[in-house]
């Protein structure tokens, strides 16, 4: 479950990175992002990615750092596929990703 939380946070971070970009945001929401929206998404992205890194390294030290690098690769690949081939599903994907972060976080917090 730690791995799932680490990965979903990483994915969430890169998804926020993608949405912070003008062209990707426009593809998904059919409108331009405001300056505040763009900055908030960038901020969320960095926090989420750093959290993922801290979680991986704190729980599995060097092995966790390797996992984090792998999570980043997989996340970028998934985001690339969604934003270039499945744009209409990005909203659903974002919701699912958020739910995954919350559920895996809750599971870990309660156990």
């Amino acid at each position: 479950m730690i791995d799932l939380l680490g990965f979903s946070l990483c994915l969430f971070g890169f998804n926020s990175f993608a949405l912070a970009k003008f062209n990707h945001f426009k593809d998904v929401f059919k409108k331009r992002p405001t300056e505040l929206q763009s900055k908030s998404l960038l901020f969320t992205a960095w926090i989420s990615i750093l959290l993922s890194l801290v979680l991986c390294v704190a729980t599995q030290s060097g092995y966790g750092a390797l996992l984090f690098c792998g999570f980043m690769s997989l996340s970028v690949l998934i985001i690339m596929v969604f934003y270039n081939f499945l744009v209409s599903y990005v909203k659903w994907f974002s919701v699912l990703n958020s739910v995954l972060v919350v559920l895996s976080g809750l599971f870990l917090a309660l156990n």
């Binding site: 791995d3 390797l66 792998g70 980043m72 690769s73 997989l74 970028v76 270039n84």
Partner: protein, 533 residues
């Protein structure tokens, strides 16, 4: 000045990458397959297909070692060494082996191995002669037919070029973050550039890590001078110093009875209560100088050398051991090595390593193709392509389409060759290289879209034939593997089916693709006019 620097870096990136890209493709291809080394070996040996992983594997180890000692004492009493290899999650069988006396001219002793099913302790059917996953593992740094040391120098040279290409690539990729998730389809060279950039960026930490640590694994060959300066007998002295060895009883003469193995194991479990023992080695059994080495798994720690304890076989006293706490330099070397080999990886990290490896293959492959496409587009309609362009296009076809086909030939040969064939393992490897050579010969004469399409179609059939031939020649098939939860075998067959589908899609795409080299877009036309003026 900035523009000049940028151009210099672009030139460096192009030429450094292009010079060694086919060799790098082979290294990445074979290296990526090596992450599944044990699974490939498992598939190549039908005798172990039905061996189930033990539920209580670690708990059963003590009894397996005790039984092994009895077996080896009865069968290999006069042997110079014994070896007990215990089942691991990815290697489910047990091996008791003893060395046969060396033949004249032999460098290393041959082992007589007995493979057992750890659940029933029954001997398994005789193993067929195959290199399995070890072939790809050795290929990615020994290049098979070359002298090993020369091959490793060549590999290091290529890795160094790769490192320069990666760093210069990051420098010249101005929009690295802006275009991070962008992939523009059906845009000719632009699409290839996007594929190249994306595959580079998505696994950039992996590419840097695997290239740099690859050179570190061979650092003592590349840079032996500090050790040669510090030790009287050079590298040998250095390795003797850093590898735990018996210096207490190694000079003892004469015969001696062995201590009971239980007393050794008690000491091991006192030190490491949850030890996952991977191997027990006995050197000079029944001699006063005998040693018993117990190796345990390092688990997920970034450590390449397995932790080990060495005992005197005559007295049971511990005579050497690996350090519990590594010095900074040793820890750095060990961690970099373990990061490269990925032996520490559980299934999740192993797949992530494979993803990085595939991204590396795409990065190198798309780079090679892009260069050829650009030069082809710049070549005037009636002009003859240069020798360099023909060479690059030929090598592209031979490497990118030849290696998957050669791999299919290797696995098909494994199933179709008679188990009693002499030097069977070498013949499997010969099938690999002959197939690759055949593709290279075709590419030498013709390398147009038609040849790519034909090769894609042949690869479709070849990839499909691997699971089909497996189903026809063994007792299992992809469905039975799924039903019996034999995940390694199921994934192996499923991957070949997946690649068969991908090659089929490629065949269809190439069939319907327009000949872009003959169609010049308005922007290209403008560029040509500008160049002329």
């Amino acid at each position: 000045m900035k523009d000049s620097f940028f151009r210099s870096m672009t030139w460096l990136h192009t030429w450094v990458g292009l010079l060694v890209c086919w060799l790098l493709y082979l290294i990445f291809f074979a290296g990526t397959l090596s992450f599944f080394r044990d699974e490939i070996t498992l598939w190549n040996q039908p005798a172990i297909h039905n061996v189930q992983a033990q539920a209580q594997r670690i708990e059963a180890q003590k009894q397996q070692i005790i039984t092994g000692f009895d077996y080896l004492a009865n069968h290999g009493a006069n042997s110079p060494s014994w070896r007990i290899t215990l089942p691991e999650p990815r290697i489910p069988y047990l091996v008791y082996g003893y060395a046969k006396p060396k033949e004249p001219g032999q460098r290393r002793s041959q082992f007589k191995n007995t493979q057992l099913n750890p659940n029933t302790m029954q001997e398994l059917e005789p193993f067929i002669d195959t290199k399995g996953g070890n072939f790809f593992y050795r290929l990615h740094f020994d290049l098979h037919y070359m002298d090993a040391i020369t091959a490793r120098w060549v590999i290091c040279f290529a890795s160094f070029f790769m490192l320069i290409a990666i760093i210069s690539g990051v420098v010249i990729h101005k929009r690295i973050f802006k275009d991070m998730f962008s992939f523009r389809r059906n845009k000719g060279s632009r699409t290839w550039l996007d594929a190249h950039n994306l595959s580079s960026v998505l696994a950039l930490p992996f590419h840097l890590m695997i290239t740099y640590t690859g050179m570190i694994t061979l650092i003592f060959m590349l840079f032996p001078y500090p050790a040669q300066t510090a030790y009287d007998n050079g590298m040998r002295g250095f390795f003797n110093d850093v590898t735990p060895r018996n210096t207490m009883t190694d000079k003892a003469k004469g015969e001696s009875s062995m201590v009971p193995i239980q007393s050794i194991l008690d000491q091991v479990y006192t030190k490491w209560p949850h030890a996952d023992i991977t191997r027990v080695q006995v050197n000079q059994p029944n001699m006063a100088a005998s040693t018993i080495t117990v190796l345990v798994s390092a688990g997920k720690t970034l450590r390449d050398q397995a932790p080990r304890l060495i005992f005197s076989g005559a007295t049971g006293q511990m005579v050497a051991k690996t350090d519990d706490e590594l010095t900074n330099s040793k820890a750095l070397y060990e961690s970099l090595n373990s990061m490269h080999t990925g032996r520490l990886a559980t299934w999740l990290l192993r797949w992530l390593y494979v993803l990085g490896g595939i991204a590396g293959c795409v990065m190198i492959g798309s780079g090679c193709i892009m260069w050829a496409k650009r030069i082809r587009e710049r070549t005037k309609n009636n002009a003859k392509p240069s020798f360099g362009l023909k060479l690059v296009e030929g090598l592209n076809l031979a490497t990118i389409m030849g290696l998957p086909l050669a791999t299919c030939a290797f696995f098909t040969a494994n199933r179709l060759l008679n188990p009693t064939t002499a030097e069977r393992a070498d013949k499997e490897i010969l099938a690999f290289f002959f197939t690759w050579l055949a593709v290279a010969v075709i590419a030498l004469f013709k390398r147009d879209t038609l040849q790519w399409r034909v090769m894609a179609a042949i690869n479709t059939v070849a990839c499909l034939s691997v699971p089909v031939i497996n189903a026809l020649t063994t007792n299992g098939n992809i469905v039975s593997y799924l039903m019996h939860k034999q995940w390694a075998l199921f994934t192996f067959d499923a991957l070949f089916l997946l690649f068969s589908i991908l090659f089929f899609i490629q065949t269809e795409k190439l069939r319907t693709a327009k000949n872009t080299s003959k169609i010049i877009s308005p922007s290209q036309s403008n560029n040509l006019k500008r160049q002329k003026s």
